[in-house]
């Protein structure tokens, strides 16, 4: 080892020097440098086979489910069916996946209705608990569900109603994979995995401009500031934060903000330094994904929000967090960020593994959001002692919840 040691060390040093000289920085979250982990071999997932009324028939009824921002549940199912971590033997599975699309009941305008979702979920769980013994074994503690709706498994689009309902009682022990995340919120259960909303990767790739196009817009935002249809008096939508952005910065030439729907939306984001990602009716939005993919530093205005893969991605170092109360001082805050910090954030955003982790490409690629979900699940292994119930022990109350949820579907 002595004769081989020094040249090897030299080679390692050279390699490190080359890597360090590159423009991108490695991304390390609280769980360590885990973005590029390979979940294969670290866990096994068993996919239940549910009747098609829970999944395929819903997509067949309305194919818009495949392109809206809640499409992650469908693509996760498809990914798992053909993934290397899938096992056909449930006895050796670490995690169980139930493919039920609760966000595919769309209005004529394409908005998902959550009113039947609790019943659909309950019906699916009843099905799997009767057909297989694995649900009753743990009462769902080694099962995971993808619930990408506005407030996750609270199954409502209005925050107060969602809080009132709380997480569906039957899912109390399961792991929830959801887009919604807010600290100390009823609808974010302990141990949930937050994921980014679905944004169409192909569409974004076709709108890429050459990276040397100079970034000449300081702050960019396109979207509603007032939701006059649902909140005519203002102050309710986005907790008044979006309205505050408009009122304070509509006259500021550094802020390119409007309610327009330009066809060059993606191209414009690539020409901006900062992209605002304020909360709407829910704190999360696909804007975060778009900002990361296009290299625009996300300015997150949503108090206590929990961002996707928060343990794998150090969001504090990548984005700028502004409290809702500080919105009137947004220009001061953004212009007083030190230059090195801004450049570092851009370097982190330029890291391809960062962009890959936010996307759901078809077919799946290493390091993408599907793999991050599996890595998250793998990090929760091995299961604790309280996962497996003692014989005769029952934790869940099957008749809990509003009467309307108990109706069969």
């Amino acid at each position: 080892m002595g004769t081989w040691g020094s040249p090897l060390a030299l080679a390692a040093l050279l390699l490190l020097a080359v890597v360090a000289a590159q423009d991108t920085e490695r991304i390390e979250g609280s769980a360590g440098d885990v973005l590029e982990d390979d979940p294969v071999g670290r866990l096994k997932v068993y996919v239940y086979e549910l009747p098609t009324k829970y999944n395929k028939k819903m997509v067949a009824k309305d194919s818009r489910c495949l392109s809206h921002m809640f499409a992650a549940e469908i693509f996760m199912h498809r990914f798992l069916l053909s993934s290397a971590i899938r096992t056909l033997n449930p006895e050796e599975a670490d995690w169980f996946y139930t493919p039920v699309y609760t966000t595919c009941d769309l209005t004529p305008w394409g908005h998902p209705l959550p009113f039947k979702s609790p019943r659909i979920m309950r019906s699916a769980i009843q099905f799997i608990s009767k057909r297989w013994p694995y649900w009753n074994r743990t009462e769902g503690a080694d099962h995971f569900f993808v619930v990408p709706h506005d407030f996750g498994a609270c199954f409502h689009y209005q925050e107060e109603k969602a809080i009132e309902r709380g997480v569906l009682p039957l899912l109390r022990r399961a792991t929830l994979v959801q887009t919604f995340g807010q600290k100390d919120h009823v609808c974010l259960k302990e141990g949930s995995i937050t994921i980014p909303p679905y944004a169409p990767p192909q569409k974004m790739k076709t709108h890429l401009v050459p990276p040397e196009t100079p970034r000449s817009i300081f702050v960019y935002f396109r979207g509603l500031f007032y939701d006059t249809a649902n909140d005519p008096e203002g102050g309710y939508y986005a907790r008044g934060a979006r309205a505050s952005v408009w009122e304070n910065f509509k006259n500021n030439p550094l802020f390119d903000i409007s309610t327009d729907h330009p066809p060059t939306y993606y191209e414009d984001m690539q020409r901006a330094v900062f992209c605002l990602c304020p909360l709407g009716w829910a704190p999360w939005s696909p804007r975060l994904v778009e900002a990361v993919v296009f290299g625009c530093i996300p300015v997150i205005i949503a108090d206590d929000i929990v961002l996707p893969f928060a343990d794998a991605i150090p969001w504090e170092e990548i984005g700028v967090f502004v409290a809702e109360d500080d919105v009137p001082k947004l220009d001061t805050i953004l212009t007083s960020i030190p230059m090195e910090v801004i450049l570092r954030k851009q370097r982190l955003l330029a890291n391809p593994s960062m962009k890959q982790a936010m996307l759901f490409p078809q077919p799946a690629q290493p390091g993408d959001a599907f793999h991050q979900i599996l890595n998250g699940l793998a990090r929760k292994l091995p299961h604790g002692e309280d996962v497996f119930l003692k014989p005769g022990q029952k934790v869940l109350n099957w008749t809990e919840g509003p009467r309307g949820d108990l109706k069969p579907w």
């Binding site: 809702e324 009137p328 801004i342």
Partner: protein
């Protein structure tokens, strides 16, 4: 109106306070968060007359405030205890907002609303009692209900919040400056990452001579060169020796330049001028060789126009590269060459540049087709006829200056030594003569697909006069007075009299011209013109 509201809200607050203390036994926190809202009236021990008075007052006020207040009343009548707490805070907010609509500062609304909602948050009992929710929902879309995220530790409150606006929502100039500095720095980083890795110096070779259009051409060129983001040296070779005019123009440009005199004067025929320019360029290349200047040599004729992408593209050259040049041969000639339809269809592109085969390697040259112009081209500088390029123009080629050095590392052997060129007095038609093997030239600009600069020759007649250095000295004096502007010194007549005079003359002219004349309107028009 405001005065009448305030005692009312105070009344409500006190009544709610009593209600809260009596009703909410388990509530530990202060009930002041209950805020305004009159709903608790139902619980408070009040007489019927009081209620009647209250009702009358409310009706009166709703006349002024309209929908908002009447909706408020609706809530209060139909809500239960638990929801009294929830509605009171927001209804007070609504009331306060109603009052503050008469004032201008919205900030007061925000602060008061916030305090109400925040303190209310502490007092909120767990959300229950869905019974009357439907009534409330029926009442209004944006239901004025407050609620926390369900957990008493969270400080994020659901419900109506104020819209925070600072007193002077306009940009601060210092911050705007800082933002622009940030953007500049970001763009610099972008160039560093995605642009050229190691930018080389650009050596721009320009033959020029003093003439009427020199200032026009050189000014345009120097503005283009000032915008080049790479270190640049401008090598200006002047025919007939250096002149003060050129020197002052160069000095004012702010660029690094080398002003080289060339002994011969510029001839007046285009063919001879072409040859002289070639010799001047070789002279410049010799100067580069002597001073061992390092960089990419670009031949920028003073009348040509260059795009910024040209300078980005030439950074990629290894030894010798060729770019596509757009040839603008029509120089405003009065008589255009007549072309048949067929000729027009088959008109080749006015481009000189490299032609590539399918694998992207240099296959040949695309030159300007001068057949349509045969016989009608200019021979003398300043003639009103199209000026055409002769063969391959130097502007379409770029060199690595190390190619010119006596000895340079890696200099390929298909490059002739510069001293060996032009020894026998032969013409150096184009840079390909500097090479032994012209097939090793690199095609740039996506294999010549992108036209990166334009070749143009525009000149005045050789004998045309222009002020020296474009400074008018001595000042101009009036040679001929303008026809309709009376000079006070030249005539003693009043302007109005002169005007009438003119109008009479013009009227007579006009009436002679048209049989049906409208003198009134024409005079008016004339008057306006004057």
């Amino acid at each position: 109106m405001m005065k009448s509201l305030l005692p009312q809200s105070q009344l409500r607050r006190s009544s709610v306070a009593t209600a809260a203390r009596s009703a909410a036994g388990g509530d530990g926190s202060a009930a002041d968060g209950g805020g305004g809202g009159a709903g608790a009236g139902a619980k408070a021990p009040a007489s019927s007359t009081f209620w009647f008075l209250l009702h009358a007052l409310c009706c009166l006020i709703s006349l002024f405030l309209g929908f908002r207040f009447s909706r408020l009343l609706f809530f209060l009548l139909f809500s239960t205890t638990a929801l009294y707490h929830s509605t009171t805070s927001s209804s007070s907010a609504a009331v306060l907002r109603a009052t503050t609509t008469t004032t201008t500062t919205t900030t007061t609304t925000t602060t008061t609303t916030n305090t109400f909602t925040l303190s209310f948050a502490a007092a909120n009992p767990p959300p229950s009692n869905p019974a009357n929710r439907t009534a409330l929902e029926a009442a209004a879309a944006g239901a004025d209900k407050g609620g926390t995220s369900g957990n008493p530790q969270s400080h994020v409150v659901v419900g109506r919040h104020g819209i925070r606006i600072r007193p002077w929502p306009h940009p601060d100039p210092v911050e705007v400056m800082r933002a622009h500095q940030i953007m500049e720095r970001v763009q610099e980083e972008q160039r560093r990452w995605y642009g050229v890795k190691e930018p080389r110096q650009v050596l721009v070779v320009t033959p020029t001579y003093s003439r009427a259009f020199q200032a026009l051409h050189l000014t345009g060129l120097l503005h283009s060169l000032r915008n080049v983001p790479y270190p640049l040296t401008w090598i200006v070779v002047e025919a007939g020796g250096t002149t003060n005019a050129t020197a002052s123009l160069l000095a004012r440009s702010g660029l690094t330049f080398v002003h080289i005199p060339f002994p011969d004067r510029m001839p007046h025929e285009w063919a001879d001028r072409h040859a002289t320019e070639n010799r001047m360029r070789i002279h410049a290349l010799r100067a580069i060789r002597e001073r061992k200047m390092d960089g990419v040599v670009v031949f920028a004729d003073d009348s040509n126009v260059h795009s910024m992408e040209l300078f980005d593209e030439v950074q990629k050259v290894q030894w010798m590269g060729a770019v596509s040049v757009g040839i603008l041969a029509h120089t405003g000639a009065a008589e255009q060459p007549r072309l048949s339809e067929e000729e027009k269809q088959n008109m080749p592109l006015p481009v000189q540049g490299p032609a590539c085969n399918s694998s992207g390697h240099l296959a040949g040259w695309h030159t300007f087709n001068s057949l349509p112009f045969s016989g009608k081209t200019a021979t003398v500088v300043g003639e009103a006829a199209p000026v055409l390029p002769k063969g391959l123009e130097w502007a379409g080629f770029v060199l690595n200056s190390r190619m010119l050095w006596k000895d340079a590392e890696g200099k390929p052997d298909w490059v002739k030594d510069l001293d060996a060129v032009g020894e026998n007095g032969e013409e150096i038609e184009n840079p390909l003569n500097l090479l032994n093997d012209p097939s090793s030239v690199e095609p740039l600009g996506n294999c010549g697909k992108k036209v990166l600069l334009w070749w143009l020759r525009v000149e005045a007649r050789a004998d045309s006069k222009f002020p020296q250095g474009w400074v008018i000295e001595p000042p101009l004096d009036v040679v001929v007075p303008a026809k309709r502007t009376p000079w006070p010194e030249t005539t003693t007549e009043l302007p109005s009299e002169l005007l009438e005079d003119k109008q009479e003359q013009d009227d007579r002219r006009l009436s002679r011209a048209n049989k049906s004349s409208r003198p009134r309107s024409t005079t008016k028009r004339q008057g306006k013109e004057n």
